[in-house]
């Protein structure tokens, strides 16, 4: 079974690199660090609970217009997906785009994990 917690920590490290880039926009320093705080907490909470989800019954992925559904088990391609997401985040060289990615990377990670993206 994929160790979701270890994989998510790779994403957390990538978020740290985006923070280092984004915080160079002086006016956004607090916002950048607040984004890191809330999204890292969310990702770690999901990763900690993903073992239970992996052993639970699979449920159809909810469309955007429905109620939240139980998380799906992580897909077998999860490790490759998160590695590629981290690589994509590491390609960002512009601090403004880094700030965009501080919100985008966690959402994409949650989708890859089969979770609701929020």
């Amino acid at each position: 079974m994929t160790d979701s917690r270890a994989l998510v920590e790779r994403v957390v490290e990538a978020i740290g690199r985006l923070v280092a880039l984004g915080e160079t926009i002086e006016d956004e320093w607090t916002y950048v660090h607040d984004l890191e705080t809330v999204w890292v907490a969310r990702l770690r909470a999901v990763a900690a609970g993903s073992g239970a989800a992996a052993h639970g019954a699979a449920a159809p992925q909810s469309p955007s217009s429905s109620h939240p559904s139980p998380a799906l088990p992580p897909p077998p391609e999860l490790e490759a997906a998160l590695d590629r997401l981290v690589a994509e985040a590491d390609m960002v060289g512009d601090p403004h785009r880094a700030i965009d990615w501080l919100s985008t990377l966690p959402q994409a990670t949650l989708v890859a994990l089969g979770e609701s993206a929020w």
Partner: protein, 231 residues
């Protein structure tokens, strides 16, 4: 309270060209019917660096991998179409894609609203005038001009677009309308997660209690449908 077309200055003329681009309409139509995960895909690709489809397919295994909807299904076709249209936006260059992204959020908002209210009540780029109050410089992206139940929408691609100016303009409009005995619901539509929006809003002291926040996970509420999270 009166509604009026915004002045057609140079910026408005240029932006109108982007709003009328078929790529904007195509993206908006796809995103209006998209799942939450598909909307996140669009957001990532239009924010991203990679300009080829395959890396994005590998980043979103729940949309394109072994657990995704079967190839040839309507759901899978929509994921592919969203990926293609998002890449088309992303490859326009930083300045242009930023304008496209904003126009797409406005167009999605208009499409979803048209599922709840009469299409002829929905207008774009309108100013709202009140007796004795100087007009705001910036027009509202979308308005619903229903007598007695008007709505004013400001649309943003990301949470970072939330500013004190935006919050004040929306709240002022609501207050001026109330002073004239009218009802105006101001709404911020942000194509970003509510979690990021709340982080942004926490930095502002501008009034927001009378302004409704619609985020990427609650977009369908514009159409009167229930969404994944309450607004």
């Amino acid at each position: 309270m009166r509604f009026q077309d915004a002045a057609r200055d140079a910026r408005a003329v240029v932006y109108a060209g982007i709003q009328a681009d078929p790529l904007v309409a195509r993206a908006a139509a796809l995103l209006a019917d998209a799942t939450a995960a598909q909307r996140v895909l669009a957001r990532a690709v239009m924010n991203g660096e990679s300009d080829a489809a395959e890396p994005w397919r590998s980043m979103f295994p729940t949309l394109f991998g072994s657990v995704a909807a079967a190839e040839g299904s309507a759901e899978r076709d929509r994921s592919e179409a969203i990926l293609a249209v998002s890449l088309a936006v992303a490859t326009r260059g930083e300045q242009v894609r930023s304008q496209f992204r904003g126009a797409i959020v406005e167009a999605v908002t208009e499409l979803l609203l048209a599922r709840r209210v009469a299409a002829d009540a929905i207008r774009r780029e309108r100013r709202i005038l009140f007796d004795g109050v100087p007009a705001e410089i910036h027009p509202y992206d979308v308005t619903v001009e229903t007598p007695g139940a008007a709505e004013a929408y400001d649309c943003k691609w990301g949470a970072r677009g939330i500013s004190a100016d935006v919050l004040h303009q929306l709240d002022d409009a609501r207050g001026h309308a109330a002073a004239e005995g009218d009802r105006l619901l101001p709404v911020l539509v942000i194509f970003d997660a509510r979690r990021s929006c709340e982080v942004r809003l926490a930095r502002h002291t501008a009034p927001r209690t009378g302004t409704r926040l619609v985020t990427i996970e609650t977009l369908d509420r514009l159409a009167g449908r229930r969404a994944e999270a309450a607004s």
